[in-house]
Protein backbone atom coordinates (compact mmCIF):
# COMPACT_ATOMS: atom_id res chain seq x y z
CA UNK A 1 0.00 0.00 0.00
CA UNK A 2 1.34 3.42 -0.94
CA UNK A 3 0.17 6.90 -0.05
CA UNK A 4 -2.30 8.53 -2.39
CA UNK A 5 -0.28 11.42 -3.75
CA UNK A 6 2.20 9.16 -5.41
CA UNK A 7 4.65 9.62 -8.27
CA UNK A 8 1.91 7.67 -10.02
CA UNK A 9 2.27 3.96 -10.52
CA UNK A 10 1.96 3.80 -14.28
CA UNK A 11 2.52 0.08 -14.51
CA UNK A 12 -0.38 -0.58 -12.18
CA UNK A 13 -2.57 1.84 -14.07
CA UNK A 14 -1.81 0.05 -17.31
CA UNK A 15 -2.61 -3.26 -15.70
CA UNK A 16 -5.90 -1.88 -14.45
CA UNK A 17 -6.92 -0.27 -17.73
CA UNK A 18 -6.03 -3.41 -19.66
CA UNK A 19 -8.08 -5.58 -17.31
CA UNK A 20 -11.04 -3.29 -17.78
CA UNK A 21 -10.84 -3.21 -21.54
CA UNK A 22 -10.01 -6.87 -22.05
CA UNK A 23 -12.98 -7.83 -19.89
CA UNK A 24 -15.31 -5.48 -21.69
CA UNK A 25 -14.33 -6.11 -25.30
CA UNK A 26 -11.99 -9.04 -25.32
CA UNK A 27 -8.28 -9.27 -25.95
CA UNK A 28 -8.12 -9.11 -29.73
CA UNK A 29 -10.54 -6.25 -30.01
CA UNK A 30 -8.62 -4.10 -27.57
CA UNK A 31 -5.79 -2.13 -29.11
CA UNK A 32 -2.74 -0.86 -27.29
CA UNK A 33 -3.67 2.61 -28.45
CA UNK A 34 -6.94 2.35 -26.52
CA UNK A 35 -5.18 1.23 -23.38
CA UNK A 36 -2.58 3.96 -23.67
CA UNK A 37 -5.29 6.55 -24.25
CA UNK A 38 -7.18 5.52 -21.15
CA UNK A 39 -4.04 5.73 -19.04
CA UNK A 40 -3.11 9.03 -20.60
CA UNK A 41 0.23 8.04 -22.09
CA UNK A 42 1.36 7.03 -25.54
CA UNK A 43 1.47 3.58 -27.03
CA UNK A 44 5.23 3.48 -27.01
CA UNK A 45 5.33 4.10 -23.29
CA UNK A 46 3.47 0.88 -22.71
CA UNK A 47 6.47 -0.92 -24.05
CA UNK A 48 8.64 0.45 -21.34
CA UNK A 49 6.48 -1.36 -18.78
CA UNK A 50 5.44 -4.45 -20.71
CA UNK A 51 7.47 -6.09 -23.43
CA UNK A 52 4.42 -7.03 -25.51
CA UNK A 53 0.66 -7.15 -25.55
CA UNK A 54 0.80 -10.81 -24.65
CA UNK A 55 2.95 -10.13 -21.62
CA UNK A 56 0.28 -7.72 -20.49
CA UNK A 57 -2.34 -10.42 -20.82
CA UNK A 58 -0.06 -12.84 -19.03
CA UNK A 59 0.29 -10.44 -16.13
CA UNK A 60 -3.48 -10.26 -15.83
CA UNK A 61 -4.30 -13.95 -16.01
CA UNK A 62 -1.02 -15.17 -14.63
CA UNK A 63 -2.07 -16.24 -11.17
CA UNK A 64 -5.18 -17.93 -12.51
CA UNK A 65 -3.24 -20.20 -14.81
CA UNK A 66 -0.59 -20.85 -12.21
CA UNK A 67 -3.17 -21.69 -9.56
CA UNK A 68 -4.91 -24.20 -11.80
CA UNK A 69 -1.60 -25.78 -12.70
CA UNK A 70 -0.62 -26.07 -9.09
CA UNK A 71 -3.82 -27.94 -8.24
CA UNK A 72 -3.49 -30.33 -11.18
CA UNK A 73 0.14 -30.97 -10.39
CA UNK A 74 -0.77 -32.13 -6.90
CA UNK A 75 -2.18 -35.31 -8.45
CA UNK A 76 1.31 -36.33 -9.48
CA UNK A 77 2.49 -39.17 -7.31
CA UNK A 78 -0.58 -39.01 -5.13
CA UNK A 79 -2.41 -42.27 -4.51
CA UNK A 80 -5.95 -42.21 -5.79
CA UNK A 81 -8.78 -42.45 -3.32
CA UNK A 82 -12.32 -41.10 -3.34
CA UNK A 83 -11.36 -38.62 -0.64
CA UNK A 84 -8.27 -37.46 -2.51
CA UNK A 85 -10.27 -37.03 -5.70
CA UNK A 86 -12.84 -35.00 -3.88
CA UNK A 87 -10.16 -32.86 -2.32
CA UNK A 88 -8.50 -32.05 -5.64
CA UNK A 89 -11.76 -31.36 -7.44
CA UNK A 90 -12.70 -29.03 -4.63
CA UNK A 91 -9.45 -27.09 -4.90
CA UNK A 92 -9.80 -26.93 -8.66
CA UNK A 93 -13.30 -25.55 -8.28
CA UNK A 94 -12.07 -23.03 -5.73
CA UNK A 95 -9.75 -21.49 -8.28
CA UNK A 96 -12.49 -21.32 -10.89
CA UNK A 97 -14.98 -19.68 -8.57
CA UNK A 98 -12.41 -17.23 -7.30
CA UNK A 99 -12.09 -16.08 -10.90
CA UNK A 100 -15.76 -16.39 -11.60
CA UNK A 101 -16.25 -12.75 -12.59
CA UNK A 102 -13.58 -12.72 -15.26
CA UNK A 103 -14.53 -16.21 -16.40
CA UNK A 104 -16.50 -15.25 -19.52
CA UNK A 105 -13.68 -13.01 -20.70
CA UNK A 106 -11.21 -15.81 -20.07
CA UNK A 107 -13.10 -18.40 -22.05
CA UNK A 108 -13.84 -16.00 -24.86
CA UNK A 109 -10.16 -15.39 -25.33
CA UNK A 110 -8.78 -18.85 -24.80
CA UNK A 111 -6.86 -18.49 -28.00
CA UNK A 112 -4.97 -15.45 -26.80
CA UNK A 113 -4.59 -16.93 -23.35
CA UNK A 114 -3.06 -20.07 -24.78
CA UNK A 115 -0.75 -18.01 -26.94
CA UNK A 116 0.37 -16.00 -23.93
CA UNK A 117 1.28 -19.20 -22.16
CA UNK A 118 3.08 -20.56 -25.19
CA UNK A 119 6.33 -22.06 -23.91
CA UNK A 120 4.53 -23.64 -20.96
CA UNK A 121 1.68 -24.92 -23.03
CA UNK A 122 3.06 -28.34 -23.70
CA UNK A 123 3.70 -28.85 -20.03
CA UNK A 124 0.24 -27.66 -19.15
CA UNK A 125 -1.46 -29.97 -21.61
CA UNK A 126 0.53 -32.85 -20.21
CA UNK A 127 -0.30 -31.94 -16.64
CA UNK A 128 -3.94 -31.54 -17.51
CA UNK A 129 -4.08 -34.89 -19.26
CA UNK A 130 -2.37 -36.59 -16.34
CA UNK A 131 -4.78 -34.97 -13.95
CA UNK A 132 -7.68 -36.30 -15.98
CA UNK A 133 -6.24 -39.79 -16.06
CA UNK A 134 -5.54 -39.70 -12.34
CA UNK A 135 -9.11 -38.63 -11.68
CA UNK A 136 -10.37 -41.62 -13.60
CA UNK A 137 -8.87 -43.84 -10.92
CA UNK A 138 -6.57 -46.87 -11.12
CA UNK A 139 -6.61 -48.87 -14.38
CA UNK A 140 -9.21 -46.70 -16.07
CA UNK A 141 -11.30 -47.96 -18.98
CA UNK A 142 -12.13 -45.50 -21.74
CA UNK A 143 -15.54 -45.01 -20.17
CA UNK A 144 -13.80 -44.03 -16.95
CA UNK A 145 -11.71 -41.54 -18.90
CA UNK A 146 -14.76 -39.97 -20.47
CA UNK A 147 -16.53 -39.66 -17.15
CA UNK A 148 -13.50 -38.00 -15.59
CA UNK A 149 -13.36 -35.54 -18.47
CA UNK A 150 -17.05 -34.84 -18.03
CA UNK A 151 -16.54 -34.22 -14.32
CA UNK A 152 -13.87 -31.61 -14.97
CA UNK A 153 -15.98 -30.06 -17.68
CA UNK A 154 -18.96 -29.87 -15.32
CA UNK A 155 -16.94 -27.76 -12.90
CA UNK A 156 -16.50 -25.32 -15.74
CA UNK A 157 -20.16 -24.44 -15.43
CA UNK A 158 -19.02 -22.20 -12.58
CA UNK A 159 -17.70 -19.67 -15.06
CA UNK A 160 -20.54 -20.11 -17.52
CA UNK A 161 -21.94 -16.83 -18.74
CA UNK A 162 -25.37 -18.43 -18.78
CA UNK A 163 -25.65 -18.64 -15.02
CA UNK A 164 -27.14 -15.55 -13.32
CA UNK A 165 -24.17 -14.35 -11.36
CA UNK A 166 -26.09 -12.29 -8.88
CA UNK A 167 -28.64 -14.84 -7.76
CA UNK A 168 -26.27 -17.64 -6.96
CA UNK A 169 -23.80 -17.53 -4.10
CA UNK A 170 -20.29 -18.86 -4.38
CA UNK A 171 -20.96 -21.34 -1.60
CA UNK A 172 -24.05 -22.75 -3.29
CA UNK A 173 -22.22 -22.98 -6.58
CA UNK A 174 -19.33 -24.78 -4.97
CA UNK A 175 -21.45 -27.30 -3.10
CA UNK A 176 -23.66 -28.11 -6.07
CA UNK A 177 -20.95 -28.46 -8.65
CA UNK A 178 -18.59 -30.45 -6.48
CA UNK A 179 -21.43 -32.83 -5.76
CA UNK A 180 -22.22 -33.05 -9.48
CA UNK A 181 -18.63 -33.76 -10.44
CA UNK A 182 -18.24 -36.48 -7.82
CA UNK A 183 -21.37 -38.14 -9.11
CA UNK A 184 -19.79 -38.32 -12.55
CA UNK A 185 -16.55 -39.86 -11.42
CA UNK A 186 -16.29 -43.56 -12.12
CA UNK A 187 -17.17 -45.48 -9.00
CA UNK A 188 -14.37 -47.72 -7.88
CA UNK A 189 -14.44 -50.51 -5.39
CA UNK A 190 -12.51 -49.52 -2.31
Amino acid sequence: MQHATNPRDTKAEIHHAALDLFSAQGYEKTSLREIAEQVGITKASLYYHYKSKQELLRAIIGTFVDDIREVMARADGLDWSPAAARELLSSYLDVLIRNRASGPALTRDIGAVLASIDEDIEAIVTTSRQFQVWLAGPDPTSVDRIRAAAAIEALGASISAELPIGEISDAELHATLLDAAITLLPSKPD
Copy 2:
Protein backbone atom coordinates in the same frame (compact mmCIF):
# COMPACT_ATOMS: atom_id res chain seq x y z
CA MET B 1 -23.60 -29.98 -58.38
CA GLN B 2 -21.20 -29.24 -61.24
CA HIS B 3 -19.12 -31.45 -63.45
CA ALA B 4 -15.56 -32.19 -62.40
CA THR B 5 -13.55 -30.50 -65.14
CA ASN B 6 -14.87 -27.15 -64.11
CA PRO B 7 -13.76 -23.59 -64.76
CA ARG B 8 -12.33 -24.14 -61.32
CA ASP B 9 -14.54 -23.47 -58.36
CA THR B 10 -12.43 -20.85 -56.68
CA LYS B 11 -14.91 -20.17 -53.92
CA ALA B 12 -14.84 -23.79 -52.85
CA GLU B 13 -11.06 -23.85 -53.02
CA ILE B 14 -10.89 -20.83 -50.78
CA HIS B 15 -13.29 -22.43 -48.35
CA HIS B 16 -11.18 -25.55 -48.32
CA ALA B 17 -7.86 -23.77 -47.87
CA ALA B 18 -9.27 -21.60 -45.11
CA LEU B 19 -10.64 -24.62 -43.27
CA ASP B 20 -7.23 -26.27 -43.47
CA LEU B 21 -5.32 -23.27 -42.25
CA PHE B 22 -7.76 -22.21 -39.56
CA SER B 23 -7.74 -25.72 -38.16
CA ALA B 24 -3.98 -25.95 -38.22
CA GLN B 25 -3.02 -22.54 -36.86
CA GLY B 26 -6.20 -20.91 -35.66
CA TYR B 27 -8.18 -18.02 -37.05
CA GLU B 28 -6.21 -15.04 -35.85
CA LYS B 29 -2.89 -16.50 -36.84
CA THR B 30 -3.98 -17.23 -40.37
CA SER B 31 -3.64 -14.30 -42.75
CA LEU B 32 -5.63 -13.74 -45.90
CA ARG B 33 -2.36 -13.60 -47.78
CA GLU B 34 -1.59 -17.18 -46.69
CA ILE B 35 -4.99 -18.39 -47.82
CA ALA B 36 -4.71 -16.58 -51.14
CA GLU B 37 -1.23 -17.98 -51.66
CA GLN B 38 -2.37 -21.54 -51.06
CA VAL B 39 -5.21 -21.15 -53.55
CA GLY B 40 -2.94 -19.46 -56.04
CA ILE B 41 -4.72 -16.15 -56.30
CA THR B 42 -4.17 -12.74 -54.75
CA LYS B 43 -5.51 -11.38 -51.53
CA ALA B 44 -7.85 -9.03 -53.32
CA SER B 45 -9.50 -11.88 -55.16
CA LEU B 46 -10.71 -13.28 -51.89
CA TYR B 47 -12.87 -10.22 -51.53
CA TYR B 48 -14.75 -11.02 -54.66
CA HIS B 49 -15.90 -14.29 -53.14
CA TYR B 50 -16.12 -13.35 -49.48
CA LYS B 51 -16.88 -9.91 -48.18
CA SER B 52 -14.56 -10.25 -45.19
CA LYS B 53 -12.41 -12.64 -43.24
CA GLN B 54 -15.19 -13.08 -40.74
CA GLU B 55 -17.65 -14.05 -43.45
CA LEU B 56 -15.19 -16.72 -44.46
CA LEU B 57 -15.10 -18.07 -40.94
CA ARG B 58 -18.86 -17.88 -40.79
CA ALA B 59 -19.14 -19.97 -43.93
CA ILE B 60 -16.95 -22.61 -42.35
CA ILE B 61 -18.58 -22.89 -38.97
CA GLY B 62 -22.02 -21.82 -40.15
CA THR B 63 -23.76 -25.14 -40.09
CA PHE B 64 -22.32 -26.05 -36.73
CA VAL B 65 -23.71 -22.96 -35.06
CA ASP B 66 -27.01 -23.28 -36.87
CA ASP B 67 -27.35 -26.92 -35.90
CA ILE B 68 -26.78 -26.21 -32.24
CA ARG B 69 -29.23 -23.34 -32.34
CA GLU B 70 -31.84 -25.49 -33.97
CA VAL B 71 -31.58 -28.10 -31.22
CA MET B 72 -31.79 -25.55 -28.44
CA ALA B 73 -34.71 -23.79 -30.08
CA ARG B 74 -36.69 -27.02 -30.05
CA ALA B 75 -37.11 -26.60 -26.30
CA ASP B 76 -39.25 -23.54 -26.90
CA GLY B 77 -42.87 -24.33 -26.15
CA LEU B 78 -42.08 -27.98 -25.51
CA ASP B 79 -43.40 -29.49 -22.29
CA TRP B 80 -40.64 -30.74 -20.05
CA SER B 81 -40.42 -34.46 -19.36
CA PRO B 82 -37.49 -36.76 -18.59
CA ALA B 83 -37.87 -38.32 -22.03
CA ALA B 84 -37.97 -34.95 -23.78
CA ALA B 85 -34.90 -33.76 -21.88
CA ARG B 86 -33.03 -36.91 -22.83
CA GLU B 87 -34.04 -36.48 -26.45
CA LEU B 88 -32.79 -32.90 -26.67
CA LEU B 89 -29.54 -33.63 -24.86
CA SER B 90 -28.97 -36.49 -27.24
CA SER B 91 -29.48 -34.29 -30.30
CA TYR B 92 -27.24 -31.62 -28.82
CA LEU B 93 -24.54 -34.20 -28.25
CA ASP B 94 -24.97 -35.49 -31.79
CA VAL B 95 -24.05 -32.11 -33.20
CA LEU B 96 -20.99 -31.85 -30.96
CA ILE B 97 -19.71 -35.28 -31.84
CA ARG B 98 -20.31 -34.73 -35.53
CA ASN B 99 -17.92 -31.79 -35.23
CA ARG B 100 -15.61 -33.57 -32.86
CA ALA B 101 -12.55 -33.28 -35.06
CA SER B 102 -12.74 -29.53 -35.46
CA GLY B 103 -13.76 -29.09 -31.84
CA PRO B 104 -10.39 -28.00 -30.46
CA ALA B 105 -10.02 -25.41 -33.22
CA LEU B 106 -13.52 -24.19 -32.51
CA THR B 107 -12.98 -23.71 -28.81
CA ARG B 108 -9.60 -22.15 -29.32
CA ASP B 109 -11.15 -19.48 -31.50
CA ILE B 110 -14.37 -18.86 -29.64
CA GLY B 111 -13.59 -15.19 -29.66
CA ALA B 112 -13.48 -15.01 -33.44
CA VAL B 113 -16.39 -17.38 -33.74
CA LEU B 114 -18.50 -15.19 -31.50
CA ALA B 115 -17.48 -12.13 -33.46
CA SER B 116 -18.45 -13.79 -36.72
CA ILE B 117 -21.90 -14.45 -35.32
CA ASP B 118 -22.20 -10.93 -34.02
CA GLU B 119 -25.70 -9.79 -34.98
CA ASP B 120 -27.19 -13.12 -33.99
CA ILE B 121 -25.29 -13.32 -30.77
CA GLU B 122 -27.91 -11.77 -28.56
CA ALA B 123 -30.49 -14.19 -29.89
CA ILE B 124 -28.16 -17.12 -29.39
CA VAL B 125 -27.39 -16.21 -25.81
CA THR B 126 -31.09 -15.89 -25.13
CA THR B 127 -31.87 -19.22 -26.75
CA SER B 128 -29.06 -20.87 -24.89
CA ARG B 129 -30.20 -19.48 -21.57
CA GLN B 130 -33.76 -20.57 -22.21
CA PHE B 131 -32.55 -24.01 -23.15
CA GLN B 132 -30.68 -24.26 -19.90
CA VAL B 133 -33.69 -23.12 -17.89
CA TRP B 134 -35.93 -25.55 -19.73
CA LEU B 135 -33.52 -28.37 -18.99
CA ALA B 136 -33.70 -27.57 -15.31
CA GLY B 137 -37.35 -28.59 -15.38
CA PRO B 138 -40.50 -26.86 -14.13
CA ASP B 139 -40.07 -24.27 -11.36
CA PRO B 140 -36.32 -24.74 -11.06
CA THR B 141 -34.42 -23.76 -7.94
CA SER B 142 -30.98 -22.26 -8.35
CA VAL B 143 -29.49 -25.65 -7.58
CA ASP B 144 -31.52 -27.08 -10.46
CA ARG B 145 -30.16 -24.36 -12.71
CA ILE B 146 -26.60 -25.14 -11.75
CA ARG B 147 -27.08 -28.84 -12.35
CA ALA B 148 -28.57 -28.17 -15.77
CA ALA B 149 -25.61 -25.97 -16.63
CA ALA B 150 -23.25 -28.69 -15.47
CA ALA B 151 -25.05 -31.25 -17.63
CA ILE B 152 -24.62 -29.15 -20.75
CA GLU B 153 -21.02 -28.48 -19.85
CA ALA B 154 -20.38 -32.18 -19.37
CA LEU B 155 -21.45 -32.87 -22.95
CA GLY B 156 -18.72 -30.47 -23.98
CA ALA B 157 -16.18 -33.07 -22.92
CA SER B 158 -16.88 -34.62 -26.32
CA ILE B 159 -14.79 -31.98 -28.03
CA SER B 160 -12.16 -31.86 -25.31
CA ALA B 161 -8.65 -31.97 -26.67
CA GLU B 162 -7.65 -34.02 -23.65
CA LEU B 163 -9.53 -37.12 -24.74
CA PRO B 164 -7.59 -39.49 -27.01
CA ILE B 165 -9.58 -39.16 -30.21
CA GLY B 166 -8.44 -42.39 -31.76
CA GLU B 167 -9.12 -44.77 -28.89
CA ILE B 168 -12.68 -43.78 -28.25
CA SER B 169 -15.50 -44.43 -30.67
CA ASP B 170 -18.23 -41.92 -31.33
CA ALA B 171 -20.83 -44.38 -30.11
CA GLU B 172 -19.08 -44.99 -26.82
CA LEU B 173 -18.60 -41.27 -26.33
CA HIS B 174 -22.24 -40.61 -27.03
CA ALA B 175 -23.56 -43.27 -24.70
CA THR B 176 -21.27 -42.38 -21.81
CA LEU B 177 -21.73 -38.63 -21.96
CA LEU B 178 -25.48 -38.74 -22.45
CA ASP B 179 -25.70 -40.98 -19.44
CA ALA B 180 -23.49 -38.62 -17.46
CA ALA B 181 -25.53 -35.56 -18.38
CA ILE B 182 -28.81 -37.23 -17.47
CA THR B 183 -27.40 -38.16 -14.09
CA LEU B 184 -26.68 -34.51 -13.46
CA LEU B 185 -30.12 -33.25 -14.35
CA PRO B 186 -32.27 -32.41 -11.36
CA SER B 187 -34.57 -35.30 -10.65
CA LYS B 188 -38.19 -34.30 -10.74
CA PRO B 189 -41.23 -36.17 -9.50
CA ASP B 190 -43.27 -37.39 -12.47
